[in-house]
């Protein structure tokens, strides 16, 4: 592209190309923003713990919770670690 002389083109032609480049960029930008927000809603990024370990709470069922009732907080912390 850098070797092409502008002499062979008209101002209208050059300005139209600039408009086209910007339009394409705007579409790409829209897509990128949409896809990012869609992915964010569908698949949230896992949180990173203080030691760099990846963990996430997928779901907690009632049986699990009832098993913990009356337990010490330390037990829960160990489980989450």
């Amino acid at each position: 592209m850098t070797d092409e002389r502008l002499t062979e083109r008209s101002t209208t032609d050059i300005l139209a190309e600039i408009e086209l480049l910007r339009a394409r960029r705007a579409v790409a930008r829209e897509r990128r923003l949409v896809s990012t927000s869609e992915r964010g809603a569908r698949d949230p990024k896992p949180r990173v713990g203080s030691h760099g370990k990846r963990w996430r709470v997928e779901s907690v069922d009632d049986d699990f919770l009832s098993g913990l009732e009356g337990g010490e907080d330390e037990d829960l912390n160990k489980l989450l670690e």
Binding site: M1, T2, D3, E4, R5, T7, L21, R25
Partner: protein
């Protein structure tokens, strides 16, 4: 010191006058040999000097904006200038070369918005002609009976809508940061010459001058951010203006520098023309690697090899009076 007089251009041409301008003066001061190659031999590189053609085109676009107040016409003038120069600059701002046609287009539109509503309007002569791109030539000394004229060109003169006084604006495109560029208003002989020219040629006492800076960044269009950032332009940081003022003493002191330097330069020119010397002294490496490297590096590094000169350069004489005569007509 006597103020320079206005000399009619046709008279000046007939008398075979010597010309000097700010570019000649500053080039000579930086490196004598560079001045000889540029202004005595009139050598220009065959390959495009992108900073020059790009700066010229931005100037052309903004001058059109001043003349007509029409942004689309300004953009057209900018692109047409690049076409006329046979430029091979890239169109897209995504290119590695920062001086893209697209960036310039965005800069001209952003410039118009950035300074929209400013308290200045273009100064117009009694015939209604806008004072834009004003070429001038004024007598300032003699050299062995030949008149020496100081030539130049002012970007535009404005009238303040607040105090009704005249201000001169000089546009600079730069790849260094704007605050750094704005510091260079004083001392700066270019502004002093313009103050003198406005007084001599146009009978205008300038209330001040402005350095008007446009930053050529390498910023790519942002995904997020405002509409200008999406075009690769930071409308706050890519533009700046710095006012400055010149007194009568400033003009006298500038004339001292200019006359003494011109005398020295013309002495070197006489020695060259008499055959006593074949070239001028080089300031190496002080001047060789500034601003991305001197355009004559390959000449000096091969000790003026004639094959290099014939292959890599063309002769384009600098004839400021031609344009002035055309304007006079």
């Amino acid at each position: 010191m006597t103020l320079p007089q206005i000399v009619p251009i046709d008279h000046a041409v007939k008398e075979d006058v010597l010309f000097i301008d700010f570019s000649t003066y500053s080039t000579y001061s930086m490196c004598k040999e560079k001045d000889r190659l540029a202004h005595i031999l009139h050598l220009r590189p065959v390959i495009e000097e992108k900073p020059l053609s790009y700066g010229h085109a931005i100037h052309a676009g903004i001058a059109e904006l001043r003349r007509k107040g029409d942004i689309d016409a300004a953009v057209q003038a900018y692109v047409q200038d690049l076409i006329d120069a046979g430029s091979s600059l890239p169109i897209s701002i995504e290119d590695d070369e920062r001086r893209s046609v697209e960036r310039g287009e965005a800069l001209i539109r952003a410039y118009a918005q950035r300074w929209h509503g400013e308290p200045y309007e273009v100064y117009r002569g009694s015939d209604g002609e806008p004072y834009c791109e004003i070429g001038f030539a004024m007598y300032f000394m003699d050299w062995h009976g030949r008149p020496v004229m100081l030539a130049g060109r002012m970007d535009w003169i404005a009238r303040s809508t607040i105090d009704q006084r005249a201000y001169q604006f000089d546009l600079k495109t730069t790849t260094s940061n704007v605050p750094q560029q704005l510091k260079q208003v004083r001392p700066n002989h270019q502004f002093t010459i313009y103050t003198l020219a406005a007084k001599t040629i146009l009978s205008l006492d300038l209330a001040g001058s402005y350095m008007d800076v446009v930053y050529i960044s390498d910023r790519k269009p942002a995904v997020k951010g405002g509409p200008w950032m999406q075009l690769g332009v930071d409308i706050d940081k890519d533009f700046g203006r710095q006012p400055t003022h010149r007194s009568a003493t400033d003009i006298d002191e500038m004339m001292f520098d200019l006359i003494e330097t011109t005398r020295e330069r013309l002495t070197w020119q006489d020695r060259l023309e008499s055959g006593e010397i074949s070239r001028w002294p080089r300031n190496a490496p002080g001047a060789c690697f500034q601003y991305g490297g001197c355009r004559y590096l390959d000449i000096c590094s091969t000790n003026c090899n004639p094959n290099i000169i014939a292959t890599n350069y063309v002769i384009k004489p600098w004839l400021p009076w031609q344009e002035l005569v055309k304007k006079e007509v």
